[in-house]
């Protein structure tokens, strides 16, 4: 067992006007699993990137085992025993699992495949990882890529492992495997683990203690066990009221899919018929790549139907472009905020002008005023002249909400709260539920099963292009839903095959 104590002292980091890390000092003891908590923009990721060498601090020191160290770059950090698992695992897509494992190892070009393969399978077996050495990386699931990255970092001698939102996009079962491995490593090998997560239940399930950041400052540490409410209080300084579902009379059918066939390179959906009524919230559950994306895009005209028809408010829209769906009151919010939805390089005012100005000549004064109003209304932490990419993820999501039309007929949203903290996510849902109360139908996907169960009037479960419907979400537990998205439909009597 090799314990390694890591201490950060008086870390400062500024990004322009934002003081992302303000005099942070904290010690991480070897063999401990520590949750790093804080709302969006609190400075968690910044601190982790400084620790793992991805960016330098403006000032402050890192001490390892009582000695100050000074490293630049992730490689140097790994050499000192600090390794970080990115939200998006950084691996080489064309390589196989084994090649990726070897790649970056000391002795680089000196490939010893049999030995590496032995090492890989030993570690995989120990933790119950499902890694076939000859599988190309791009065939792996997110969970498998994470497992590979962990195995790789361990082989490189990492003694402090940092994980940034590791449970996003992986199944409950995969999460259990991951957590079990981390516990095993901490207890038996003395590995320290830092877990950055928005999911308090994950933190409670896994961690020994938590470190809480707020607005760039360290506001406290706490030994676990603790309740969710206690952690929320630490994070926000107040407790949040739980969501109270309200009963709403649904209106007429606003979106209708009639025997729709969809196909992409990897999967197809056949014979999907669905009616969505005004005010209804439909949650789409399923692992990444099970067909949710395909169906949502078909609902807004971004994906052509192979067969079948799409109706909006009774009007046949099959084959129409997204713009004419928009003109019929359909709005779409994609998962990748800066890839689809917002435009890096444009200011907030320019974004608002894009959706609000209708004349040939733009009245910038009016657009600016409108922007100021929206910033206040949607509680965006940012300035009208800020470029959108200068805002944190949570604030970008708020801007996206501000750009949506006031009273859309149908709102289709891919993972509307992805990467947001509890508070921001709840705020987003308040906005959505307000629109739903005005008769907007909402279709959304999420990797968070409790979000789906909490907010949906109906749930569609996607599994490899098959779609099952849950008519009564209240009757389904999160565990059951977790089994369903894994494809176990036999044991449940709450689902009905839809397509």
């Amino acid at each position: 067992m090799i314990f390694m104590d890591v201490e950060v002292k008086n870390i400062h980091k500024r990004f322009g006007p934002v003081h992302a890390n303000n005099d942070i000092s904290v010690t991480f003891k070897g063999g401990n699993i520590v949750g790093i908590l804080g709302e969006n923009g609190a400075g968690k990721s910044t601190l982790m990137k400084i620790l793992s060498g991805f960016q330098p601090a403006d000032s402050g020191e890192i001490w390892i085992d009582g000695r100050p160290v000074d490293y630049h770059g992730p490689r140097a950090a790994i050499a000192h025993g600090v390794g970080m698992l990115q939200q998006d695992p950084l691996d080489v897509p064309a390589f196989t699992v084994l090649e990726n494992f070897i790649y970056g190892a000391p002795g680089g070009m000196n490939l010893n495949r049999p030995q590496a393969q032995r090492q890989l399978s030993e570690v995989s077996q120990r933790f119950g990882f499902d890694l076939d050495p000859e599988t190309p990386i791009n065939r792996l699931s997110i969970a498998q890529r994470q497992q590979l990255e962990i195995v790789r970092l361990l082989a490189l001698g990492v003694k402090l492992l940092i994980l940034d939102e590791p449970t996003t996009g992986i199944s409950a079962e995969q999460k259990n495997v991951l957590f079990e491995a981390l516990r095993n490593l901490a207890k038996n090998d003395g590995l320290s683990v830092l877990l950055v997560s928005h999911k308090l239940e994950d933190v409670i399930a896994l961690c020994d203690e938590v470190v809480v950041l707020r607005a760039g400052k360290l506001v406290g540490t706490k030994q676990l066990p603790a309740t969710t409410d206690e952690l929320v209080t630490l994070m926000f300084g107040e407790e949040l009221a739980p969501h109270q579902p309200e009963d709403i009379e649904f209106g007429d059918t606003v979106l209708k899919l009639d025997r729709v066939h969809l196909a992409s390179k990897r999967l197809s959906i056949t014979d999907l018929s669905l009616e969505v009524r005004a005010g209804e919230v439909i949650g789409l559950a399923g692992l990444d790549g099970s067909g949710q994306r395909l169906m949502m895009r078909a609902c807004v005209g971004l994906e052509k139907c192979v067969a079948g028809d799409v109706f909006i408010n009774g009007q046949r829209m099959t084959g129409q472009a997204y713009r004419s769906f928009m003109q019929h009151g359909v709005s779409f919010g994609a998962a990748g905020r800066l890839e689809e939805g917002l435009i890096a390089g444009l200011t907030l005012t320019e974004h608002i002008a894009l959706v609000s100005e209708r004349g040939m000549v733009i009245d910038w004064a009016r657009a600016r005023q409108h922007t100021e109003t929206q910033i206040k209304l949607y509680d965006v932490r940012g300035h009208a002249d800020n470029m959108i990419e200068q805002l944190s993820g949570g604030n970008q999501q708020r801007v996206l909400m501000a750009l949506l039309p006031e009273n859309p007929v149908v709102l289709v949203l891919e993972q509307p709260t992805r990467g947001l903290d509890v508070d921001s996510a709840r705020w987003i849902w308040q906005q959505l539920l307000k629109r739903r109360a005005d008769g907007t139908a909402i279709i959304f996907s999420s990797a968070e099963l409790d979000e789906i169960v909490t907010y949906s009037d109906r749930i569609l479960v996607f599994y490899a292009g098959q779609i099952y419907e849950i008519r009564d979400p209240d009757a389904v537990s999160i565990d059951e839903l977790g089994r369903l998205i894994g494809g176990d439909f036999q044991s449940s009597d709450h689902v009905e095959r839809l397509a």
Binding site: G16, P17, A20, G169, S290, R323, A353, V355, Q390
Partner: protein, 367 residues
């Protein structure tokens, strides 16, 4: 982003590349055994020794500015309109056609007709690139290069056949145009094409205003920065891209008309004189800031026109101007890279996880 930087740094980043490329060029001049100071003096006098030489600079400046302004539109929309060279040539072809067809009409009537024909020609050639891109998915660089070649071949064919001089076809130049169909010069002492000068000024003002103050300008910018997001925000991205091509082609067409109906007085292969490609460099150089275009084009016009006399006076090849241009462009683009890195350092991560959005695990990207 730019606002976050100090003005001094901004200024230094702007001026440094110019100084560095001048130094590099001076070293090259020294290496080939000439005196840089003398070269500068000769280029200066070559460009501005009298009204006639100054007029020559202006007459090169005008079409270069037109093409460059046009290119700021396509660049803003995120399009590499390499085909601008061909659009200049087709504008010249259409103007030539008008000049030949309507030679009997009075000058005041025939000149607007020629300009309209040039506009239509350039526009059509540009729209062809645009349609190839939006409808058939052919990248505008490939489409543009192909259409450039076609325009050149078409010119040679017409020059040596239907439009050949009565004295015999040579593939060098067409029959001279009727004098009444040529663009008029301002005066004998200062022979500048005042018609195109006015058109250029108007075009510059309209484009500057459009890019800043109109919905079209905002659509261009949005489409250029992120067409997927722009589409989701309701921008008709396809139509916007086509309109950018059309506008650029129209301006390039007028540039072509100026070259044949004023500079040469006949149609000849390569009549554009590389103005289109030079315009691409200019616009990159000023990072698509349209206000700087006229200044940058003027400097290039002066250097190029001025250095034509280097061979005679200093036994230096006039391609020295090209050397200076080349180094300038390389150094400036290098500095733009430097600036971008600086800006990235400034903007990176205001807040918690902005990078996340650049590379999402997202959601079935490969579905």
């Amino acid at each position: 982003m730019r606002k976050n930087q100090s003005l001094a740094l901004q200024l230094a980043l702007g001026i440094a590349p110019i100084i560095i490329s001048l130094v590099i060029t001076a070293i090259i001049i020294l290496v080939v055994g000439a005196d840089p100071a003398e070269v500068v003096e000769r280029v200066w006098s070559g460009a501005f020794r009298d009204l006639t030489s100054t007029a020559r600079v202006v007459n090169f400046w005008l079409p270069l500015t037109l093409a460059s302004i046009g290119l700021t539109i396509t660049f803003t929309a995120g399009l590499w309109n390499i085909g601008v060279e061909g659009q200049i040539m087709v504008g010249a072809l259409f103007a030539t056609f008008a000049s030949r067809e309507f030679a009997s009409l009075p000058t005041a009537v025939v000149i607007p007709i020629e300009i309209i024909f040039a506009v239509v020609g350039g526009m059509l050639w540009a729209l062809l690139v645009g349609v190839l891109k939006t409808r058939l998915g052919i990248h505008e660089i490939f489409g543009g290069v192909a259409l450039n070649a076609l325009a050149d071949v078409g010119t040679i064919f017409l020059v040596s056949n239907a439009w050949a001089p009565a004295t015999g076809a040579t593939a060098q130049a067409s029959e001279r145009f009727a004098p009444s169909t040529l663009f008029p010069a301002l005066s004998g002492d200062f022979p500048v094409n005042w018609v195109v000068a006015i058109v250029t000024v108007i075009a510059a003002i309209v484009v500057i205003f459009s890019l800043r103050g109109t919905r079209w300008g905002l659509h261009l910018k949005a489409t250029g920065k992120n067409p997927r997001s722009a589409l989701l925000l309701g921008v008709p991205t396809e139509r916007t891209a086509l309109s950018a091509f059309a506008a650029c082609g129209a301006l390039a067409g007028i540039a072509g008309a100026h070259r044949v109906l004023f500079t040469f007085g006949d149609l000849r292969p390569l009549a554009s004189g590389g103005i289109g490609f030079l315009g691409l460099l200019v616009v990159l150089l000023v990072s698509i800031r349209v206000l700087w275009v006229p200044l940058a084009t003027f400097v290039f016009a002066a250097i190029i026109t001025g250095s034509t006399r280097l061979r005679i006076s200093l036994q230096l090849d006039q391609s020295l101007a090209g050397v200076l241009q080349g180094t300038l462009v390389l150094v400036v683009i290098l500095f733009q890279g430097v600036r971008q890195r600086l800006e990235q350092r400034v903007t990176q991560g205001d807040g918690d996880e902005p990078q996340q959005s650049f590379s999402p695990i997202s959601a079935e990207m490969t579905e």
